[in-house]
C-alpha cells in the first residue's frame, strides 16, 4: 500500500531563516506530487506541483521554491522566511486518472 511521509511535523523558525520541508511517498512509482499551504485552518492553496523528476510548476509567485531530486521525494524550500509564510503545509500525491490526491499528515510552520 502507498504511504506518504512529511517531516518535520512542527517547526518554529525566526524571520529570515531558511526552510526545508521534505515529503516522500512509498509504494508507488512516478506519482504527481503537490505542495499546498493552508492558512487559518481553512482553504487549500496549491503552491507547486510536479509530474516528474526535475519538473516543477509554480502556482503562486512567492519566496518559496520546490525541488524533486528523486521520483518519490518532494522538497519545499525558502532562503529567507517571512511572517506570512506561517501555516500548515501539506504534501499530496496522485497517479493516473482520476488523479485522486492523497495527502500527508502536514507540517505546522510558525515564523516568529
Amino acid at each position: 500500500s502507498q504511504t506518504i511521509h512529511q517531516w518535520p511535523a512542527t517547526l518554529v523558525q525566526p524571520v529570515g531563516s531558511p526552510l526545508s520541508l521534505e515529503c516522500t511517498v512509498e509504494g508507488t512509482s512516478n506519482p504527481n506530487l503537490y505542495w499546498y499551504r493552508q492558512a487559518a485552518g481553512r482553504g487549500l492553496q496549491l503552491l507547486f506541483y510536479s509530474v516528474g523528476i526535475g519538473q516543477i510548476s509554480s502556482e503562486v509567485p512567492q519566496n518559496l521554491s520546490a525541488s524533486r531530486p528523486q521520483d518519490r521525494q518532494f522538497i519545499l524550500s525558502s532562503k529567507k522566511l517571512l511572517l506570512s509564510d506561517s501555516g500548515f503545509y501539506l504534501c499530496a500525491w496522485s497517479v493516473q486518472p482520476p488523479y485522486t490526491q492523497y495527502f500527508g499528515p502536514g507540517t505546522r510552520l510558525t515564523v516568529l
Binding site: N32, R42, Y49, L90, Q101, G106
Partner: protein, 114 residues
C-alpha cells in the same frame, strides 16, 4: 472560471440531522468531483467522489448529488454524528485537460451537536 464556490462556510447540525454542503462551478471541462474531510491538525482525506455521468453516488451515510445542467454538486450527510465534526472541502478537476490539478472550494466547518 476556475473557481469552485462552496457554501456555507460553517454549519451546525444536531446529532441525527442531515448536513448539506453545496458547491458550484463554472468550468464545463470539469469532470471529476471529489469531497475531502479534514480533522484539526490532520491532512484532508478523500471521502467520496463522483463523475458527471451519474447524478448521485452514495457511500454509507454520505451522498453526493450532482446537477450537471446547473453546474452544482452537494454533499449530504445523513444521521450526522459528533464524529463527523470536521472541515469539508469540495473540489473539481478536468482530468483530460489538466490532469491532476484539483480546484478546491473554501471549505465548510461542520459541527454536530450531541
Amino acid at each position: 472560471q476556475q473557481q469552485v464556490k462552496q457554501s456555507p462556510q460553517s454549519l451546525i447540525v444536531q446529532k441525527g440531522g442531515i448536513s448539506i454542503i453545496n458547491c458550484a462551478y463554472e468550468n464545463t471541462a470539469f469532470d471529476y468531483f471529489p469531497w475531502y474531510q479534514q480533522f484539526p491538525g490532520k491532512g484532508p482525506a478523500l471521502l467520496i467522489a463522483i463523475r458527471p455521468d451519474v447524478s448521485e453516488k452514495k457511500e454509507g451515510r454520505f451522498t453526493i448529488s450532482f446537477n450537471k445542467s446547473a453546474k452544482q454538486f452537494s454533499l449530504h450527510i445523513m444521521d450526522s454524528q459528533p464524529g463527523d465534526s470536521a472541515t469539508y472541502f469540495c473540489a473539481a478537476d478536468a482530468l483530460y485537460n489538466q490532469g491532476g490539478k484539483l480546484i478546491f472550494g473554501q471549505g465548510t466547518e461542520l459541527s454536530v451537536k450531541p
